[in-house]
């Protein structure tokens, strides 16, 4: 199997400002992100041969028309991708495979979500069994945090440190929803959302869109970013149980989908020692506790020690493995379909040395980790500078 390593390049990226964008609809957001990516790649809409768009909620958009209609690009193959909160990165993954297969030369992967049109108190509840589900997203992830408090002695202070770090990073990012540093007291004194997660442990409801132009390296060499295009080193997806709540024996200490996707990605990229080899990571900090679990699941640290590692500065922008130098979901919020693509936008620009916010020092490899459902769908992408 040839795999995907070094066979796909990112030729351009675009991202809207994330936030409570009351005056904009999904059309505004998608058009802004895609046109920015096209400008970045130096191409026009007509150069797009196919597209994949990541969307979770039907009220944002259904069908490939979510992309084709606002772009007024009709008659082209467009696929809507939904895979929980990993929808955006799965759109990217499918786009990569089409390019690697040689079916298309230039395609777009993008994601968009317009959450605020539905109000801002938590994600809208959709589908599911009438009586067997029903917990909020914070409630589901809190089940894991409670367990880590019990087994590993993590505390609300440990969670708060993650929020403080990510908010510190987000201050510099012009496209972040929140650009305000917070204190430990701010985090600890915020209202409880789902014990043990308080408001600053949770990412916000935000609107946004992000897009990537994808091609093969040999074509990228002829395009605008011919000197600093970025290549895909690995691209993995793992789907675990949608109802881990009912799974006998599941220990709730981390998320199996992340462990599996990370193992696949490391093998494909040839990464042996992630902390040494990966320059930085944009990880799915939908909740501060999730960021701590991710550190263990991604093999950055012995899982129970994640809290200690954050305390010791391991994940600061100057640390051994900077995590969420953009500010993460904590500062961008989480317009579901857009998040995976927003992470890839960030990783690409970091690797090119043109990060909008905090620039990580000279990274060679960067990781994006997109986690969906109650820890049940995980996409991991490793990008690198081209040879």
């Amino acid at each position: 199997m040839p795999g995907i390593k070094d066979r796909v390049a990112i030729a351009g990226v675009g991202c809207t400002k994330f936030g409570e964008l009351w005056e904009k609809d999904q059309e505004d957001l998608l058009v802004e992100a895609v046109y920015e990516a096209l400008d970045d790649a130096g191409i026009t809409p007509q150069d797009i041969e196919a597209a994949w768009v990541g969307v979770l909620y039907h009220f944002t958009g259904i069908s490939g028309g979510t992309f084709a209609e606002p772009m007024k690009l009709f008659g082209k193959p467009v696929t809507r991708v939904e895979n929980f909160c990993a929808s955006g990165m799965d759109a990217f993954r499918n786009a990569c495979f089409a390019v690697a297969a040689g079916v298309y030369d230039i395609v777009v992967a993008c994601g968009v979500e317009k959450l605020l049109d539905q109000g801002s108190s938590g994600l809208p509840m959709e589908g599911g069994h009438p009586v067997m589900t029903g917990a909020s997203a914070p409630g589901l992830f809190a089940l894991a945090a409670t367990r880590a408090f019990h087994e590993w002695g993590w505390t609300r202070e440990d969670l708060a440190r993650v929020a403080v770090k990510n908010h510190k990073n987000g201050v510099s990012h012009p496209k972040a929803h929140f650009r305000r540093a917070i204190t430990m007291d701010d985090a600890l004194n915020a209202p409880m959302i789902a014990w043990p997660l308080g408001r600053f442990d949770c990412c916000a409801m935000s609107d946004g869109s992000a897009a990537l132009v994808i091609t093969r390296p040999e074509i990228a060499k002829t395009m605008k970013h011919k000197d600093d295009y970025v290549v895909v080193k690995a691209n993995a997806l793992a789907v675990d149980s949608t109802f881990p709540m009912y799974r006998p024996g599941y220990n709730w200490l981390g998320f199996p989908a992340t462990k599996k996707a990370a193992a696949m990605a490391y093998e494909e990229a040839g990464v042996k020692d992630p902390v040494k080899e990966i320059g930085f990571a944009e990880v799915h900090d939908c909740f501060t506790s999730t960021e701590l679990f991710n550190m263990g699941d991604l093999g950055f640290v012995d899982p129970p020690k994640a809290a200690e590692a954050v305390r010791d500065g391991m994940t600061e922008v100057e640390g051994d493995i900077p995590i969420n130098p953009s500010g993460g979901l904590k500062c961008f919020g989480h317009p579901i379909g857009a998040t995976g693509c927003r992470m890839l936008y960030e990783v690409t620009k970091q690797l090119q040395g043109r990060a909008d916010g905090m620039q990580v020092k000279d990274p060679v490899l960067g990781m994006a980790h997109n986690l969906g459902g109650p820890g049940s769908v995980c996409a991991v992408t490793i990008l690198g500078r081209h040879d």
């Binding site: 009438p130 009586v131 917990a135 089940l143 409670t146 367990r147 014990w195 799974r247």
Partner: protein, 469 residues
């Protein structure tokens, strides 16, 4: 011969001091407290809870009929007994019926059950009764009423015999509700007390005593339903009974529980009875029913079965009248209604109501909800039905403030619980203080009304701290 094979009672955990109600409205207060059904409880859930107590240690497949009695049936068109039978995991080839429209429905159902057994059309019939009657705010009815349930399993044999049914009918306008009335209505009670209650109760009690040849001295207890304590004692006196022979109505601790009242009193009387005791039971409502219960043997002790006394003693006081207002949904509020489907309710009823999971034949893993493919070993379609335990241990939990996109100040505890004997579930915790939820705590399952999605009552399991455990 017809006998009582078993009996059980249920009282909601929440109580409200009557002074809270009198203070809230600035009206006179009656001493004591009343029971208050939680917002997720109704007559079906309370009847089921009492039914589980009654059926403890008894095979539900041995029951040929379920009779549900209540003046507050959650459905006015659609049977309630069928919900009770499903939750109690009864056979499907049984006779189910609802008895309603009068608090006498409990003894009407008892008489019908006894007739069925005597006629040979059934060997065992479970009678369940429950009420949570709606009281008009700012009236004494709020203080007088209470909520609860009771269940009796009638059978061809059992430790106590039932015989001598006497009934009268009478047309006196006592408490009533038209189908359009939200609350119990009542005329000045003296008319009903004298010409309804006293007349009817004396008539059936005397007829029964004469027929069975029992005098006041032969009776260990008179078990008389009553809304008015003075009339209650007066009735006993007129029948020649001394105070110790008159079974307490539980008014001071519970309030008048309506339909199940007489059966809850009988349960309390039987708890204290000994072999040879005779109890005269009489119940009022648009006439009256009476029957004689004679205790032959002590009822067998069943491990884990809780007495009425246990339910009385395990209680949580509501802090104020507002809690009652909230439980009873007396304030108009926009409420989030989750989606539901009668199709899913029907298809999943054995899993949802009787709480069946499955056990893999290959690896033995007990799992819930029952899958086609084993979650543990991946074997397809080799799983057997497994009835799950109603007791478990909290593995992890959260206190969720976000419900249906709305921020609630009091969070909903949601717990992942490992059930005794296998199976893991994800349930809301009810009847608790969220602060007391912890990993490792023992919980018991309780069937509640989860929501009203698709416009019907979506009953499902929640868990609660073990009562009297």
């Amino acid at each position: 011969m017809v006998a009582i094979a078993s009996y059980g009672a249920y009282i909601p955990v929440f109580r409200l001091g009557r002074q809270e109600m009198s203070q809230a409205w600035g009206i006179p207060g009656v001493p004591g407290e009343r029971s208050v059904a939680n917002a997720d409880e109704d007559s079906i859930t309370m009847a089921i809870a009492a039914g589980f107590e009654c059926m403890a240690g008894i095979d539900p497949a041995s029951v040929d009929g379920v009779y549900f009695a209540s003046t507050t049936p959650p459905y006015t068109e659609k049977q309630c007994a069928s919900v009770v039978a499903s939750a109690l995991d009864m056979r499907h080839d049984i006779f189910t019926a609802d008895f309603t429209d009068s608090v006498r429905a409990a003894t009407v159902a008892m008489r019908a059950a006894c007739d069925a057994i005597e006629s040979g059309s059934a060997k065992r019939v479970l009678v369940v009764a429950a009420d949570n009657r709606p009281a008009e705010p700012e009236t004494m009815w709020e203080q007088l009423l209470g909520d609860g349930g009771a269940a009796f399993l009638l059978s061809a044999d059992g430790p106590a015999t039932v015989r001598g049914f006497q009934s009268v009918t009478s047309e006196v306008i006592g408490p009533w509700r038209r189908s359009s009335d939200r609350y119990v209505r009542a005329f000045e009670p003296k008319l009903d007390t004298q010409y309804g209650y006293m007349a009817s109760m004396l008539a059936v009690a005397k007829a029964l005593a004469q027929k069975e040849g029992v005098g006041p001295k032969d009776l260990s207890k008179g078990v008389f339903s009553a809304g008015d304590p003075r009339a209650h004692v007066g009735l006993g006196r007129q029948l020649g009974l001394e105070m110790p022979q008159i079974q307490d109505t539980g008014f001071l601790l519970l309030g008048n529980t309506g339909t199940p009242q007489v059966l809850m009193m009988l349960a309390a009387a039987l708890d204290a009875a000994k072999a040879g005791d005779k109890l005269l039971v009489a119940n009022y409502g648009d006439g009256a029913d009476a029957f004689l219960v004679e205790v032959k043997d002590a009822f067998p002790a069943v491990p884990g079965k809780r007495s009425l006394q246990t339910y009385l003693m395990t209680k949580r006081m509501l802090p104020n009248y507002n809690s009652y207002v909230s439980f009873r949904k007396l304030m108009d509020r926009d409420r989030f209604v989750p989606k539901s489907s009668p199709v899913i309710y029907w298809r999943d009823s054995k899993m949802e109501l009787a709480l069946y999971g499955s056990r893999c034949r290959k690896c033995g893993t007990v799992q819930y909800p029952p899958p086609r493919v084993c979650v543990q070993c991946g074997t397809k379609d080799e799983l057997d039905e497994a009835k799950l335990s109603h007791k478990g241990t909290v593995f992890t939990f959260t206190l969720d403030h976000l419900v249906g996109g709305e921020y609630l100040n009091t969070p909903v505890p949601r717990v992942v619980a490992d059930l005794e004997g296998g199976g893991r579930t994800f349930l809301q915790m009810t009847d608790c203080d969220p602060k007391e939820v912890s990993i490792g705590m023992t919980v018991e399952l309780t069937l509640r009304c989860l929501h009203e999605g698709a416009g019907f009552h979506n009953y499902y399991w929640k868990c609660q701290p073990v009562r009297g455990g």
